[in-house]
């Protein structure tokens, strides 16, 4: 790793140029635009860099292209995180908060903003809710044989489902059931609630029990599952059409088919580590992503809810810029939601 100063500068120049133009970079170009010596000198240095594995050659008589190793070095040491300008920050904030009332909404917007700024395909996962706790459960009569099962979580999320009953239920019965449920489940995390054997925890008369078991419990489980569900938002899919690496129709097709498998994508993303994480080309375990880079970051809401967002694009991407934006966005989501939740926490 003991590259000379000049080699580092040349490498950086090649990477910068290639990221900008997507064309192999020749020695003359570097020589002209940077004060690093004559084309011949640059050539010699480039030749060394190639031997060291930082550059490659599409064919003998073409310029140099950075290897994954080069990008890795760039990301770790050379790249400067470009701090966003105030204007950019303002623009992001404006876009992000316009017309947003719910977290899901904010997340969706974040994916949108991210794709707009980076000109890449962006995604965002709504928070994982394993740690969210049930706070309050209620059963509300709508008509004699319909009740609404309402669950409120500590995060503020509310779920409700209309439940059909086999026989009419008295308000009393409902009240008892709801009380019982709240007593047994409030304070439990959603996943705990889901794995608790529901029936055993109950005390009520036979009729109420039967109703609970046959009508309410299934809906309760379904609601919990729904609340636990993580949503994936994607945006900027068509941005790849502007990238020369996807000019080939088959490449474009593969990309779309990849990102269309939402289940796969969600799994891949959620298995990634925390913080800002950059994986380049073959560093992605996934064969299909071997010529893409993926940048993800984690946002936290109230130190409990955790979600991810990021971009996917060709290995040639503006790592510095994208990283800054992704960081800024995750910070802002955390802030925005601590704020909303905070309004109430002081009571």
């Amino acid at each position: 790793m003991d590259l000379t100063e000049r080699k580092l500068k040349i490498l950086q120049a090649v990477i910068a140029d290639f990221i900008r133009t997507a064309e192999p970079v020749g020695s003359r170009t570097i020589s002209k635009n940077y004060e690093l010596g004559s084309p011949a000198t640059i050539r010699n240095e480039m030749s060394d860099l190639e031997e060291l594995g930082y550059l490659t050659h599409p064919h003998t008589s073409s310029g140099r292209v950075p290897s994954e190793k080069a990008y890795r070095l760039y990301v770790n040491e050379l790249m400067k995180k470009r701090e966003l300008t105030q204007e950019q920050k303002d623009a992001i904030a404006r876009d992000l908060y316009s017309n947003v009332t719910e977290l899901e909404n904010l997340i969706e917007r974040a994916a949108h903003v991210l794709s707009e700024i980076t000109n890449l395909t962006a995604f965002a996962l709504s928070p994982e809710k394993e740690q969210d706790k049930l706070k309050y459960i209620n059963l509300l009569p709508v008509d004699p044989k319909t009740v609404v099962l309402m669950l409120v979580a500590e995060s503020g999320e509310v779920s409700n489902t209309a439940v059909r009953l086999d026989k009419p239920a008295s308000e009393d019965t409902l009240r008892i059931l709801a009380k019982n449920m709240t007593y047994n489940y409030s304070g439990k995390t959603l996943s705990e609630a889901l794995t608790t054997d529901i029936i055993k925890t109950f005390k009520a008369d036979a009729e109420a029990m039967a109703m609970f078991e046959h009508n309410i419990a299934p809906s309760f489980i379904k609601s919990l599952e729904d609340m636990l569900n993580v949503n994936l938002y994607m945006d900027g899919l068509t941005n790849i059409f502007s990238l020369p690496e996807y000019n080939d129709i088959d490449k474009a097709r593969n990309f779309f088919e990849l990102v269309n498998r939402k289940q796969d994508i969600m799994q891949k993303l959620s298995s990634r580590g925390d913080g800002v994480l950059i994986t380049i080309g073959g560093e992605n375990e996934d064969e299909e992503l071997s010529d893409c880079s993926v940048i993800t970051a984690t946002y936290h809401v109230d130190g409990k809810l955790v979600g991810k967002l990021g971009v996917i694009g060709p290995t040639r991407m503006k790592y510095g810029e994208v990283t800054s934006v992704v960081e800024y966005l995750t910070d802002n989501i955390s802030k925005a939601f601590r704020l909303t939740e905070g309004e109430g926490d002081d009571s």
Copy 2:
């Protein structure tokens, strides 16, 4: 329009062949595969058909391609709606009902199934809810300064929002407000509720009024708007990559950019008429759709909720087959939901 029998048959043959192969159809092909005369005869007839505007010529020495006028004739008179086989119907039903509990879910699935069967891009709009009526409104205390505003509509849809209050509210106050709201709004359609001047209809003490006006009314309006919102589901976007007409990267790009503008698409779709509707190429008012055909159909739930689904694809599409599938699907959605709703209507 007084085409001879043979001309009609030839036209039909050309259309069928072109729909299958996407290649201009030559006279020899027709002559070999159908008993309609020698190549020379067919050529003469084709020449006539061209003069009448039913066929065109990409260039002098290539086969014939059907014009939009030809497709229109085909759709109106020549095409046989291919009744689905029992297997196909079963497969659809299986796909459609697997794991479906809510209407939204069913609609989303319908779009999926439709795209799978037709190999085209399919979309489905969730029902318009202007005619849905409010049935029941409730305000439920969660903690001293949080209540949940719950709206239940006659269609069974339930909406709720957590509302933060400026000051704690007593259960009594909430009960009075909820009663008042139910009294004033139940039986009103969602749009009526939205246009009713909310404050005027109220009678309550000053404090309750203030709380209603500042905290609850805005959430109420938002909830109504949410409930009125129509969702667009699309599926099978990548199917166009299998179509030769989208082998050109620019064509593909345009298509994706078109269907990505969801707002536009929704507007275009909802402004279309009822029943099964086929628009071919230039018949679409929209410039961008001028080389596409669009087939939509309307589904009804309980004779009240109305939504649309359909496909979009090149003018060369299997009109007969697609029409049948679209019809079968809309019928089944109507049935499926009359069923679910029906369970309760007998009470």
